[in-house]
């Protein structure tokens, strides 16, 4: 059912609603967001403006506001919201049976270390 690039990264309930958790990968930190409608999104944890950690931003609707200078980034596209211009890479993500799966560019499984308390 899952192709080899999908990687289980933890349980949905370990991500706070309107919050996020970070997955550290060899591509850099990826922020996995969960909004109030329980939709899940994954973006590189670097604001297109000055690299702010988006994971610490305030999540509202399908937007996250960067904690550094309040740029708003669209969770579903990675595009900054007008009037700002810029975008951040996004990654495929899905929830199957309460478990969050992240689609990564290349299979990197063996070195995964799960830090979830469960």
């Amino acid at each position: 059912m899952l192709d080899s690039n999908w990687l289980a990264v933890g349980l949905l309930r370990n991500i706070p609603p309107q919050g996020s958790r970070v997955v550290r990968t060899e591509h850099g930190e990826i922020a996995v967001f969960r909004n109030s409608a329980d939709e899940v999104f994954a973006l590189l944890n670097r604001c297109p403006h000055r690299g702010g950690p988006l994971a610490e931003g305030i999540v509202h609707g399908r937007l996250v506001s960067c904690p550094l200078h309040a740029w708003q980034v669209q969770l579903d596209s990675g595009e900054a919201k007008a009037p700002d211009i810029g975008c951040v890479p996004r990654f495929p993500v899905k929830v199957v049976g309460g478990e969050v799966y992240l689609g990564l560019p290349a299979p990197t499984t063996s070195r995964a270390r799960l830090n979830t308390v469960d």
Partner: protein
């Protein structure tokens, strides 16, 4: 068969002719438009807001491509006309299109002037003229750091402002010693330079650029004296030249621009020319208002009105740099045969100069306060005698209008031009306001375009609006909190109290919020209002808190955090210092600094180390410093009577006492205090939200000071005798501010909004009220005075600070 009308140049002036012509004689011509740029025509003036990130490219389109099709206009965009064959009456494009014409309009605008210096072809060297240039600058701003703008005129400064807003370090290089030398006198230019310098733009004045260095991409700008500065992007904004190549090649009479008569016809009567490419009565214009006047005359001529003439224009300038108010028009320099009247308030950075010749106003420069610019400009254009107004001229039309009041604006003739950019006159504006029952400036802009471009006429439009709407016009109500609601901060707060709302979701539902979970502006504010109104009952939502409050640490520019352990009154001891030193070693914290509030700041802590840092500090007896929250920050103290030979009271003990009482209290914005032991005021209590200064007979209490962006000294609240009184007054004031201050409103603006007398009434004169306020503060402290570090350092909470998975 209809006549064939061809326009070369799909820009502001040319398309204005077409728009006006369609209004006058929609059926007269088959129209074909050629434009070298690949889009519909757009408002070139607004490129600067696009560069500054204040507008999107599609918001500045005047007519999208559909607009042309809907009106049967054939548009060839992205196609440059290369040949006008006047004998055959055809034009040809670079790609081989051939189009016959009966009447032709040239509106080819102008070309930026590129300094003829080595290196001008390097990558990273751009001009500032069209959307493509803006795109190049925006993309450079995302990759590079240093920008140099050559030219300190209107365009150069707007480019510099925009690039700086995009995060670049910008230096403006200018040949002359003063900025905008064609629009400003030396005084205004100096003020402008100071304002921009204060915002971080650097200037190199009176220098000549001799070369651009670099092999592929530009790396530096070199000057005639041999010095150089680094540059990854160079914007040439050193002037424009009318674009007359096509006209010249076609054998039309040209000097600096294409020569035209008062009917806007060139040396070939079938060929009209308008816009920046034109020279009329010796003048070339580089601003929209005169070009639009030309366009109107040209359209009237093409529509068959041979009585329409253009007689030249007077121009005025505004700089579109947000927050910089600048206006200039006419013979602003003054000089022989002129009188200048000058007003200058150096403190407020306001400068006004009007220039008179005889009894006529012929020029004006305004800096800092430009409200009257439009009025002066009208007086100049109408050549009104200002002899009777001379004494009050610098104070604007207020004094003039005293006799007539609002009626006076309504008495203006209907054809009096108000918005020159868009050519809207008074009659049209008033008619639209009344017809469509408009109530706001934005609505007037949307329906008439008046004041929608450069904004110079905004004050006049506002006056018309006020006069036309009459008694129903009230100053705009309090602005909405954010785009999620129409309610103001105050309205939401009273709803929270009156309807006893206890959670964000209740607010969103009861008050019909537009977005299901609000936004980053309203959520933190609402969370505070809930806690302030219903301490202990309202639900605190950590996802509605800004990261600093969620992490109990201050986020820094690289995403690391800084932690400030609370040291009561700024006093510490060897045990505390040793534990701090241990934490620094253990977590390899790169920087340790003493803050302005006399505390130790540990900078550069990794997010994942935060719980560990807190745990160790908590073990040593520290609580959080709240050096990051909208809460009590620090109480700064001097050494007072305990050590100082001048001290009259124990300011240190007082400070510690106040800090112990108030730490952990959430407030609308950060809240700082200080206590000094005598009027020498070494703790700088007169720039704090609440300041205490010991005097012989007791204590003097101060409120509403601010040392931040806008410096404000405190107002004296009152004098009291005992330490217990200091406490009670302090708590009462904090509670009052907490009840009434709007989120993110410091005490200084709060005090200015409600007035000192009001605060004195509530805190000083009304003893019972004061005690009640202080008691409410104490009550809420039961809920808030908890060590947040202890809570979050627990193993269960620690999870949130580390990656959910580590794959690296």
């Amino acid at each position: 068969m209809k006549q064939q009308l061809v326009l070369v140049g799909n820009g502001m002036a040319g398309m204005k002719v077409i728009e006006e012509l369609l209004a006058l004689a929609p059926e007269r011509y088959d129209i074909t438009v050629f434009g070298a740029e690949p889009h519909g025509n757009y408002n070139r003036i607004l490129l600067s807001p696009v560069l500054a990130g204040e507008k999107q490219p599609d918001e500045i389109l005047i007519n999208p491509i559909d607009w042309y099709a809907e009106r049967g206009i054939q548009l060839h965009c992205g196609k440059a006309v290369t040949v006008v064959d006047r004998d055959a009456r055809i034009v040809r494009t670079d790609c081989g299109i051939v189009q016959p014409y009966d009447q032709l309009i040239l509106a080819t605008g102008s070309l930026p002037f590129v300094l003829p210096i080595p290196g001008r072809d390097l990558a990273g060297v751009v001009c500032y003229r069209d959307l493509h240039d803006v795109e190049q600058m925006l993309s450079a701003s995302r990759q590079f750091r240093n920008a140099v703008v050559i030219g300190g005129g209107l365009l150069g400064l707007e480019a510099a402002y925009g690039l700086q807003k995009q995060g670049m370090a910008v230096t403006v290089v200018h040949l002359l010693p003063t900025l905008m030398d064609r629009q400003l006198d030396a005084t205004a230019a100096t003020l402008l330079q100071q304002t921009l310098e204060a915002r971080g733009i650097k200037f190199k004045m009176a220098v000549q650029t001799s070369a651009l260095l670099g092999t592929e991409r530009v790396t530096a700008v070199q000057f005639a004296d041999g010095s150089s500065i680094p540059a990854d992007l160079v914007v040439m904004a050193a002037g424009v030249r009318p674009n007359i190549a096509l006209a010249q090649r076609s054998g039309l009479g040209c000097e600096r621009g294409v020569l035209v008569s008062d009917t806007l016809q060139s040396s070939d009567a079938r060929i009209y020319a308008v816009g920046e490419c034109v020279q009329h009565r010796g003048q070339c214009y580089g601003l929209v208002a005169p070009l639009y006047e030309q366009a109107r005359v040209c359209a009237a001529q093409l529509a068959g009105n041979s009585e329409a003439f253009y007689q030249g224009s007077m121009t005025s300038t505004k700089l579109k740099v947000t927050g910089v108010e600048l206006f200039s028009a006419g013979e602003f320099q003054g000089g022989d045969g002129c009188d200048s009247i000058v007003y200058q308030d150096a403190g407020a950075a306001v400068y006004k100069k009007v220039v008179l010749r005889g009894d006529k106003l012929v020029g004006a420069v305004l800096y800092g306060d430009t409200v009257d610019g439009g009025w002066y400009f009208q007086l100049m254009k109408a050549q009104t005698s200002v002899a009777a107004l001379r004494d009050s001229l610098l104070f604007g039309p207020v004094s003039e209008a005293e006799g007539g009041g609002q009626q006076a604006v309504l008495d203006w003739p209907d054809d009096k031009p108000v918005c020159d950019c868009n050519g809207v006159c008074k009659g049209k504006i008033v008619e639209t306001i009344r017809g469509k029952n408009l109530q706001t400036l934005d609505a007037v802009r949307a329906h008439t375009k008046a004041s929608a471009s450069c904004g110079a006429c905004t004050p006049m439009v506002e006056q018309l609006l006020a006069a036309a709407v009459g008694d129903n016009y009230s100053a705009p109500a309090l602005p909405a909190m954010c785009s999620c609601t129409t309610l103001s901060h105050d309205a939401v707060r009273s709803a929270i109290r009156e309807q006893k709302l206890l959670s964000l979701s209740q607010i969103f539902q009861t008050l019909a919020w537009r977005h299901a979970d609000g936004c980053d502006k309203c959520r933190p504010a609402l969370n505070f209002y809930l806690l302030a109104a219903w301490p202990g009952e309202a639900q605190d939502d950590s996802q509605a808190r800004f990261v600093n409050e969620r992490m109990h640490a201050n986020i820094q520019k690289d995403g690391s955090y800084s932690v400030v352990p609370r040291m009561w009154g700024g006093v510490t001891n060897s045990h505390e210092l040793r534990s701090i030193a241990d934490v620094v070693d253990k977590f390899q914290i790169p920087t340790v600094k003493i803050t302005g509030g006399q505390r130790v700041d540990l900078l550069g802590v990794k997010k994942s180390d935060l719980p560990g840092v807190w745990a160790d500090l908590a073990k040593a007896g520290f609580v959080s410093g709240h050096a990051y929250g909208k809460a009590l920050r620090t109480v700064k103290t001097c050494v007072g009577s305990e050590w100082c030979r001048f001290g009259t009271q124990d300011s240190t003990a007082m400070g510690i006492q106040l800090e112990k009482l108030t730490w952990g209290a959430w407030t609308p914005h950060k809240f700082k205090m200080a206590v000094s032991g005598c009027p020498r005021n070494c703790a700088e209590a007169t720039i704090k939200d609440f300041g205490v200064i010991a005097i012989e007979s007791g204590w003097e209490l101060h409120v509403g000071g601010n040392g931040g962006i806008k410096l404000r000294g405190t107002d004296v609240l009152c004098r009291v005798e005992t330490m217990a009184e200091v406490e009670e007054y302090c708590l009462a004031f904090m509670q009052l501010y907490r009840d009434e201050g709007r989120y993110l409103e410091r005490t200084a603006p709060y005090l200015e909004r409600v007035g000192l007398a009001y605060v004195q009434q509530r805190v000083v004169h009304d003893a019972a009220g004061r005690q009640l306020l202080a008691q409410r503060f104490r009550d809420s402290q039961q809920h808030f005075q908890k060590d947040p570090w202890a809570e979050l350092a627990s193993p269960a909470s620690r999870e949130r600070f580390i990656p959910i998975v580590d794959l690296s």
